[in-house]
């Protein structure tokens, strides 16, 4: 068929360029054949399979994949977009490195040069900044997608763990990256962040038991991060190396592992029936990947043209802007730091979140609901997971929109110029009361849902809870608490009762004791964060339990 090639003739009789002939000549040439393996391309199933297998970049894909696994409405392309953003970040990051010198005298000047003296420098910096923020968003969305489709369940437990690590490193890359401009945001965000490390239990000079371990300002974990006792020259260099070399390499290794396991464990849309149809990866999946990547580049470029990345005034290690706020994805953490001591908010809570997320596939043994948006089959898992995500974003909302000068509470519609009365003094519970309260919360809260064997009638339970809260709020009013604090009492009281007691009682009391206790501890810790917020906002309680000798305050 292809033997007789008649050159096409245009209506006016002249010969036109024959693109098919040119393509054939190029593809069959020795040079092309030496680069791309395989014989003449006939677009047969064998060719398409060989294209995947024979290409070092493409062979992380399988040859065929279940049709449902590549539907937009299943994956939304979130993982692929995250990876594409990582590639954009690598490219723009390498370009920025050509003009950036990590010393405190030059760093900020180089940022200004990128902005005003380098053609397209501003665009590259914008693209780098916006891709980084987009990557945080898309990695979180990807995690939510994987959770909602139960794709973390056996045999993909390990890959979920790798994913959680990748999320952590994405955030760590952002953290190390935002010191580099050496502006006010940079230095204060990193001062606060590294001081949290200094509050680590055992390893930090200001943390619980730190002094017992012989930690001082010049030998603890904070010093290791800073390369000094304050954020300075060594810190900038350390963060530069971590940001540009060490962490990206680690992330690259984890990404390869992540992709390889996706393929080996087969894509997560588990077959609904054993003979479900499969389609070829070339071109079906590859085309989608390229489309997502192209869309991603387009949006980032457009956004970077329209919106400049912020750059504050040059870093001043002695003066903090007022109010001083972290980048939005860390503002939730910043808000947590208002309610808890740094070693809890900055070290224990993030660690528990990371380990807790990684533990989920080993706690959730229920094999149902894999491979589709399984809301009905998994009410407990989905509710608590989404509650956690919602809490994180509510904290971000509070920190970003409800905090004004001196980090005081200003509603979003209030002007920051309005002078407010300074915050009321805080107080702590006496040690015996706090100890009893903690014991009761973790002791009773842990076992009660499992010991009550009957299904609780939620309507009645809510009425009882409402009555109890009303009674309690009346006592509070008589004790001199003003009425505007009462909404906090009702909100946090109801939230705990629903998510910390009723939901677990209904759905997880049948778990084995080990799994139940671990799951319930995580639930109680999460709800404990809410309750402590309620105690602070409603009653100005600073610590529930405190051992000042060991800097152990809860």
């Amino acid at each position: 068929m292809a033997d007789i090639v008649t050159p096409p003739v245009s209506p006016n009789g002249r010969k036109r360029l024959d693109f098919d002939q040119i393509k054939k000549t190029v593809i069959d040439s020795q040079i092309w054949r030496s680069i791309f393996r395989g014989g003449v391309w006939k677009d047969t199933p064998r060719d398409r399979a060989a294209h995947i297998i024979g290409n070092v970049w493409l062979h992380l894909h399988p040859v065929k994949v279940r049709k449902r696994a590549i539907e937009w409405t299943y994956t939304w392309g979130l993982g692929g977009i995250s990876f594409m953003l990582f590639l954009i970040l690598t490219l723009t990051g390498v370009l920025l490195m050509f003009y950036y010198r990590p010393t405190i005298d030059l760093a900020y000047r180089d940022m200004k040069d990128l902005e005003f003296a380098v053609t397209l420098g501003k665009l590259m910096r914008n693209a780098h900044r916006w891709s980084a923020q987009a990557m945080v968003v898309f990695v979180i969305l990807h995690m939510m997608r994987v959770f909602l489709t139960a794709a973390y369940k056996k045999p993909r437990e390990f890959n979920w763990g790798v994913g959680v690590l990748l999320l952590t490193f994405t955030l760590f890359l952002s953290f190390t990256g935002y010191l580099l401009p050496w502006d006010q945001l940079a230095i204060w965000a990193v001062t606060v962040g590294t001081n949290m490390a200094g509050a680590s239990p055992f390893l930090g000079n200001e943390g619980p038991f730190g002094s017992l371990m012989g930690m001082r300002i010049n030998n603890d974990i904070r010093f290791t991060l800073l390369g000094g006792t304050t954020v300075g020259e060594n810190t900038l260099l350390r963060f530069y190396v971590l940001h540009c070399v060490a962490v990206p390499l680690l992330v690259g290794v984890l990404l390869i592992l992540h992709f390889w396991r996706i393929r080996k464990d087969s894509f997560s849309a588990a077959p609904r029936d054993p003979n479900e149809e499969k389609v070829e990866v070339w071109p079906n999946l590859i085309v989608r990947e390229y489309m997502a990547a192209a869309g991603c580049v387009l949006v980032i470029l457009l956004w970077s043209v329209l919106q400049n990345a912020p750059l504050e005034v040059v870093a001043n290690p002695n003066v903090t802007p007022n109010p001083s706020k972290a980048p939005w994805y860390f503002v939730g953490l910043q808000e947590l730091l208002v309610y808890f001591d740094p070693w809890i908010a900055g070290v224990v809570i993030p660690t528990v979140i990371i380990i807790g997320l990684m533990a989920i596939p080993y706690l959730d043994e229920d094999p149902r609901g894999v491979g589709y948006y399984s809301i009905r089959e998994r009410p407990f898992a989905n509710t608590l997971f989404l509650l956690g995500i919602a809490m994180w974003f509510i904290l971000i909302f509070i920190g970003y929109f409800c905090r004004g000068p001196n980090y005081q509470w200003y509603w979003p519609w209030e002007s920051w110029l309005k002078v407010k009365a300074p915050p009321p003094p805080t107080w702590s519970l006496p040690m015996w009361a706090g100890g009893l309260l903690l014991l009761a919360y973790f002791g009773l809260g842990l076992v009660a849902p499992k010991l009550i064997q009957k299904d609780i009638n939620w309507k009645k339970a809510f009425l009882w809870c409402g009555a109890a809260l009303t009674g309690f709020s009346l006592i509070c009013l008589f004790q001199g608490i003003t009425w505007d604090r009462l909404p906090w009492l009702y909100f946090f009281g109801f939230a705990y009762f629903l998510f910390g007691f009723l939901v677990p009682q209904r759905y997880i009391r049948t778990l084995s004791w080990t799994r139940y206790i671990v799951t319930m501890s995580l639930v109680l810790m999460m709800m404990g964060v809410l309750l402590k917020m309620g105690l602070r906002l409603g009653f100005d309680i600073k610590y529930v339990f405190t051992l000042p000798q060991f800097s152990l305050n809860i």
Binding site: W188, T191, V192, N195, M196, A199, N218, N219, F223, T224, G227, G228, T229, T230, G232, E233, N234, N316, P317, N318, V319, T320, P321, N322, P323, S324, Q334, L337, V338, Y339, F340, D341, P342, G346, R403, P405, N406, Y407, Q408, P422, P423, P424, P425, T426, D540, K542, S551, N553
Partner: protein, 184 residues
């Protein structure tokens, strides 16, 4: 082992290590123990050496001791004169000088002095301190630190930020309080 045994004979039990005299060649088991132990020691030492690498023996940081000028030039109350350069507040009352290190004990931001409210307020997480440096609101766990201060023979205030104290009973005495009465 000198003569080959016949297939019918009973196998002689040879305890792996005990049968070998102490000065004999090393057994396979001992060799492996030694080898793996050496490997573990090597990797542990490498990790420790790498960790040590991150602690430089010299750090180039500015001196924490400075001369804040003549004591007589300071008015009563809280002076912010050195906040931007040396990160301290100098408080003078009728009896003498107290110098606060302008670093929030929560996470190290610099609080601001509000004379009308008579408190220091931190812009990062909302900690409030009174004129004594004690926490009155917000998350800070400890009172503000005071720096060692002395009045040199020239009449200048000499402040050392490397010597700090925040415990009541200690922070009000020398060297964290410098007696000074203006000789008008």
């Amino acid at each position: 082992m000198s003569e080959p045994t016949t297939p019918t004979s009973q196998p002689i039990p040879v305890p792996a290590s005990k049968s070998v005299p102490a000065n004999a060649a090393m057994t396979r088991r001992n060799f492996l123990w030694l080898g793996w132990s050496a490997l573990v020691v090597f990797f542990t030492a490498s990790a420790a050496a790498t960790a040590r690498f991150f602690f430089p023996n010299v750090i180039y940081e500015p001196s924490q001791k400075f001369n804040a000028g003549p004591a007589k030039d300071y008015p009563m109350g809280v002076s912010l004169k050195w906040q931007n350069e040396q990160r301290v507040w100098i408080e003078r009352n009728e009896k003498g000088f107290t110098v606060f290190w302008a670093r929030c004990t929560h996470l190290g931001c610099t609080p601001n002095w509000f004379a009308d409210q008579n408190r220091f307020r931190c812009p990062c997480h909302g900690s409030n301190f009174n004129i004594e440096g004690d926490v009155i609101a917000g998350p800070a766990p400890k009172p503000l630190y005071r720096c060692a201060v002395e009045i040199a023979s020239t009449g200048d205030l000499i402040i050392d930020k490397a010597i700090l104290e925040n415990r009541p009973g200690f922070r009000d005495k020398s060297p964290f309080f410098a007696q000074y009465q203006a000789t008008v």
